[in-house]
Amino acid sequence: MERGIGSGGAFAWFFQRISGAVLVLALLLHFWVLHYSNQGEVTFEIVAQRLATPVWKTIDLTFLVLAVIHGFWGFLMIVRDYVHSKNMRLFLVAAVWTVGLVIAVMGALTIIGFHPPLPVAPPEQLGGMVQ
């Protein structure tokens, strides 16, 4: 059986569905919190306050990771559908993984790195973490 970039996709298929189901809940929460619970005002304070609590940190982190994997696995699915040349597939799969990882790390750092409104960590420090 083909493995790696040529592999089947049983797990991807299953994961898309499980993550999709969780994402429904997460997105409902996300939208509610963001746009309706406080009349749609999105300010630094509100976001930062929320992100400061560990519970929210975990929720958002899960949400982020799931969404990224789900979305990027979706890309891989599309690549598998339409790209039949081995090299091209190798390249695209690598590209999708790279972008996916970068985005996931970036997002994760943002969430973890967020501190209560004040005192704020020195920008350089945070910036350093991101890079």
């Binding site: 999709g20 630094f44 979305g71 599309i78 750092l109």
Partner: protein
């Protein structure tokens, strides 16, 4: 003549397009948010993003999320609940519910954007 487009094909293409759109949005979103560790910056950008144009785009985003999510549930019903017999009907339900949710959801967006006034 091309092959006739039936509900299943529409659902698939819309799901795929919305999924890709959402993923690109997610990339952008994370990038934007992560570079906004500075409160000042954050509020400026948020203000910028509060322009009507972006609000309209946000409605598109909402539409994508709503359809993709609801159709995702439809797909799962087919996958796990043997709903093939009524797949077309579920698609119409998905479309109808999406339309309602998008319309309801769009109202506050547009209100905030001042398009509809307060």
């Amino acid at each position: 003549m091309r092959y006739k487009w039936k509900s299943g094909q529409w659902a698939f293409v819309l799901h795929r397009v919305s999924g890709v759109a959402l993923s690109f949005y997610l990339i952008m979103h994370i990038y934007v948010v992560s570079s906004l560790y500075d409160p000042q910056n954050f509020d400026t950008v948020m203000a910028f993003l509060n322009q009507p144009l972006f609000k309209i785009l946000e409605i598109g985003l909402l539409a994508a999320v709503v359809f993709h999510g609801l159709n995702g549930i439809r797909v799962m019903m087919i996958d796990f609940a043997n709903a093939t017999r009524v797949h077309a009907q579920i698609f119409w339900v998905v479309l109808a519910v999406s339309a309602v949710l998008i319309a309801v959801g769009a109202v506050p967006f547009l209100m905030h954007a001042g398009v509809l006034g307060h």
